[in-house]
């Protein structure tokens, strides 16, 4: 077990190194990164001076080493737009994004677990068809459209909720309702097929033959075992939620990392973009690492592969 964990952690470190390399070299591939770090109308002398003082004329590999060293210490340089350390700017926005992503994630689970179980147990019933239709739909509706439709309904027509902004619980409702359905749909589909797999196993038939009631049979014997198929995807789902929050935050002016990334790209504030991309990517890597380790705990077969 510990060998597996160490191996998996080493892999994560390599992936993180790769992420920083991609971020660093992508920025350098475009030509002169210094032009990205300052507003477009900056005089050339300022650029030249910055280049000389910050070691931009050194070989790229040395620059990458320096970037990596800084990144390890959470130092991504100073944002020229906010005039603050780039990492600090990103960290200030993180709680808002976490709030939104986790609320949506919870809502998705609350919807998906009962519907997934029910539609597998009542396979081919009317209920099952309805659940399948909606989970299909949930994966197809673009979240930016869903967000706008909710806005049309709740803000423009009914005037129940504020259109954009943040601060009260009312502001959280529409962004959550925008983000959750896609995730709920994926988890429902997975859980349904996982449950169907398990319900077809011999041991379920044995349990049934022993006279175990439907309720405990489904929850204790079937649901628990089908969880492993869902678990592996939960990490990816959280990932897509963070990605989705980028668009959702943009629609509802939610002051999170997504909106910050978007604005920083428009402002050419690339220090913040680098910090944000690295932070979000490492968040994923850790979530996936946690999921994989958890999976190995639940399913011992994985450890020996």
């Amino acid at each position: 077990m510990s060998r597996y964990i160490v191996k998996r952690m080493l892999q994560s470190v390599i992936v993180l190194l790769g992420v920083t390399a991609v971020v660093f070299f992508a920025l350098n591939l475009t030509g002169d990164p210094v032009t990205f770090m300052f507003p477009i109308d900056t005089p050339i002398e300022v650029l030249e001076e910055y280049r000389a003082t910050s070691g931009m004329n050194d070989p790229k590999l040395i620059q990458y080493g320096r970037f990596l060293w800084g990144a390890l210490h959470g130092d991504f340089g100073t944002s020229h737009y906010y005039n603050q350390p780039a990492m600090q700017v990103v960290l200030e926005r993180l709680p808002a994004t976490f709030l939104l992503a986790f609320t949506a994630f919870l809502l998705a689970l609350v919807i998906a677990i009962p519907t997934g179980i029910l539609s597998a147990v009542k396979r081919n019933s009317v209920l099952d068809s309805i659940v399948r239709f909606f989970s299909m739909l949930g994966q197809c509706v673009p979240i930016f459209w869903l967000g706008l439709l909710l806005m049309l309904l709740f803000s423009v027509k009914l005037k129940w909720l504020p259109t954009i902004g943040s601060g009260t619980w009312k502001h959280l409702i529409m962004p959550t309702l925008t983000l959750a359905p896609g995730t709920a749909a994926s988890i429902t589909r997975l859980l349904r097929s996982g449950m169907l797999d398990v319900l077809g196993q011999d041991y379920i038939m044995v349990a049934r033959a022993k006279g175990i009631h439907n309720g405990p049979l489904i929850l204790k014997h079937a649901f628990k075992n089908s969880l492993s198929s869902v678990l592996t995807v939960l990490g990816l789902q959280l990932a897509s939620l963070m990605g989705g929050s980028l668009i959702t935050e943009n629609i509802f002016a939610w002051p999170g990392v997504g909106q910050l990334m978007y604005n920083s790209i428009l402002n050419r504030d690339f220090m913040v973009v680098e910090a944000g991309v690295c932070l979000i990517a490492s968040f994923f890597v850790f979530v996936n690492l946690a999921v994989d380790i958890l999976y190995a705990v639940i399913n011992p077969r994985v450890r020996f592969e």
Binding site: V19, A26, F144, V233, L246, I265
Partner: protein, 287 residues
Amino acid sequence: MEKCKDIFRSLVRSKTGLIGFIIIVTFLLVALTSSVITPYDPFEMVLRDKLLPPAWAAGGASRHLLGTDQLGRDLLSRLIYGSRVSLGVALAGTLAAATVGILLGALAGYYGKMVDTVIGRIMDIQLSFPFILLAIFIVALFGSGLRNITLVAAISGWVRFARVVRGEIMSIKESEYVEAIRSLGGKDFRIIFQHILPNVVSPVIVIATLELAKVVLMEASLSFLGMGLPVDIPTWGRMLSDSRDFMQTAPHLTVFPGLMICLVVLGVNMFGDWLRDYLDPKLDTNQ
């Protein structure tokens, strides 16, 4: 001929597959004939007719079935023209993703060891970016436009192809017929392309179909964020984005473009699910 009948029968039996198929065919026909069937020039502005509601709503004019936008351009014509853009990007993006994915997947699966490890790590790195973040990062650095959108599609989609192709090839390369070709002196290149790759055609077709839907969504998202194709090209995502300023007065501008995206993605996914059940039921397409 028998085979065609068999496919057709299976398609009709699966109602969702048939509906998806009909949606795709309609979409294709509309996109291909868009220059002929648009009732108006999608770029023509008639400011006198701006923000007209759909024909059936109060104040609507029968000459503009779905109403007009903020510059008096016919919405139906713009939606039809948008289908062409959407289809073009989807095809180009999927093709690019498939090419990269199949190639790298084949290399990883066939050579194993170091090659496999390196390609595997690249996949992990790629998967640790939320794709929309990756997309706007690329677009921000390299600029927007069709070429870069295709690049984004290739970068965000290739892993799905590579994974499947790698798995299939790993199981095939040990088989006796490959061993036979190798002992007859067949070169690696020839073995991979002529003898092994034809075996992965069906999973690749399934993945490609589902990928089409993803690229349509991606292009719409980027256009919505103002990072897609140039401003003067009518795309569904851009139309949605523009509609935000007119929600109070012209909700139809928000409803219809989104409906189009939704319908196309739904159709492609429904058809793709049937295709998977028909060609390769064991294929895992959940990720």
